[in-house]
Amino acid sequence: MISFSHVYKTYRGNEGRASHALRDVSLEIQKGEFVFLTGPSGAGKTTLFRLMSAFDRPSSGVASVAGYEIAQLTAATLPHFRRRIGVVFQDFKLLRDRTVFENVALPLDIRGDTGSSLQRRVMDGLDGVGLAHKADEFPESLSGGEQQRVAIARALIHKPGLLIADEPTGNLDPELSAEIMNLFERANAQGTTVFVATHDHAMVKSRAKRVLKIHAGQMGEGLWVSP
């Protein structure tokens, strides 16, 4: 599902000095896997997810996701690729002047779904993150944790083949975090490949999944075994 080979992402600093946010990253994630990504702040987690969601292109190396090579995506193929994946961005990326309902409905909306089936799916999705009662509110009036759950509902609403979530429980209390993780596991059980970045070591430990570690732009691998 995801295959990176010697991928670099290089930013040029203020004095023109190049710094590598990702350095020679190679990794393989199979279809149907559930994988955690951990690493300290500034390690490159968001950078990695940006490349995976074709938010941005690698500076060098080959990154392919869901059968598409990121660097080769064109304006015409880009939407097709993005409709196949679901992304929870660290900063949520909700539309400010659309309601919670409209935000969650977006992935269905853009592929032309309408009517009562859309209505039902969106309300089910909101129910799953415990926000059905906020359907008609605007994101601005929600708490950080609530906005995060709206972003999660939106990322899952179209049953994507791949879910990428950048610290999806960063603003949530332990109970809510556990519920969201259960939601991801349910999606995973239905065939969605899940890749989640998190700082929450306790949660990673408790779930006994494959774990990738990133540090200063470089990848390592480890497996947490539940006690």
């Binding site: 930013y11 600093g13 938010f55 304006a75 880009l78 939407p79 409709r83 909700l94 939106r154």
Partner: protein
């Protein structure tokens, strides 16, 4: 589905305007004003062309005959004139006809004059030479000069006249005004494009986040661009309607003014506003320009990688 899509786009356009009412109305005002100017020049130039054409039809050479010229000479002269290349028709105006015509003309301008008994001036008989179409227009003033000169030398001809001075000055005035109008029109048109593009750019900047997010969830380029295209079309359309309304008001006012003035009363009946077809054309062109300006603007941002482009220092 198509209908609900457009309804959604309209909703977005309204949302944009509600958020930036000042920008939106400033755009509308500037655009309406420049379209009104363009429209004014259009009306002016159309009317000048019309007047030139209708007056042109009336342009003819008056060949005044010597006082006691024989009928034989007249018919020979008539035949000779008819055989000239630019002549459409030759008409005999007798002394009596000339006097009647003069009286009739005077009746509308200066009725008092007719009561003046001194005004029974005898008029010479003449041949009215109607010219073939086209000769009175552009650049043919020289041709008419040459023609008048050669006719002046013919047997039985006393004098030739054709309103040389006004034909010449009107046609050169018209050419100057048309050229000047075209230049100003072009400048205004470019200004309008800029204004529309700018307004759409403002709403795009305001909606940069939205475009990025729509791209990131996989909305197609067309779906993202459509609301902006529609915004441009609407701005162009509304501004054109406002401009036409302003122009019509000005035109009616102007005609009223001309009617009340002796010198222009006759002209007031000859000029007209844009006919419905021209008005529709004007609105259609302005609407299209609006759509195009916004399309060009949105195209520069919405390429699928809008979000990535904002990342600074990308190597």
């Amino acid at each position: 589905m198509g209908f609900s899509l457009i309804a959604q786009d309209l909703k977005q356009v309204l949302r944009t305007w509600r958020r930036q009412p000042v920008t939106a109305s400033a755009t509308l005002v500037v655009l309406s004003a420049s379209l009104a100017l363009i429209g004014f020049m259009l009306v002016t130039s159309l009317n000048m062309k019309r007047i030139l054409a209708t007056w042109g039809e009336k342009v003819h050479l008056s060949v005044y005959l010597e006082d006691d010229v024989s009928p034989n000479v007249i018919s020979a002269l008539q035949a000779k004139l008819k055989s000239m290349p630019d002549v459409r028709d030759v008409e005999m105006i007798s002394k009596k006809q000339a006097a009647d015509f003069f009286r009739e003309q005077m009746a509308s301008y200066a009725p008092d004059l007719l009561d003046d008994s001194e005004f029974a001036t005898p008029f010479p008989a003449s041949l009215k030479v109607h010219l073939a179409e086209g000769i009175n227009q552009d650049g043919s003033v020289e041709r008419m000069d040459a023609m008048a000169k050669s006719i002046g030398g013919l047997d039985g001809v006393e004098d030739v006249s054709y309103g040389q001075s006004w034909v010449r000055s009107y046609s050169s005035f018209f050419q100057t005004v048309s050229a000047g109008g075209a230049v100003i029109g072009l400048i205004l048109l470019m200004g309008s494009l800029f204004v529309i593009g700018n307004s759409v750019r403002a709403s795009i900047n305001q909606r940069r986040d939205e475009i990025e997010i729509l791209e990131l969830v996989g909305a197609s380029r067309e779906a993202i661009r459509r609301p902006y295209l529609i915004e441009g079309l609407i701005i162009g359309f509304i501004a054109a309607l406002i401009a036409l309304t302003i122009n019509l008001g000005l035109f009616v006012w102007e005609v009223g003014l001309m009617k009340s003035s002796f010198a222009f009363a006759r002209m007031a009946t000859e000029i007209r506003y844009l006919n419905p077809l021209e008005a529709i054309g004007f609105v259609a062109v302005a609407t299209m320009i609006g759509g195009m300006a916004s399309l060009f603007t949105v195209r520069s941002l919405n390429d699928g990688w809008a979000a990535a482009r904002r990342v600074r220092g990308d190597a």
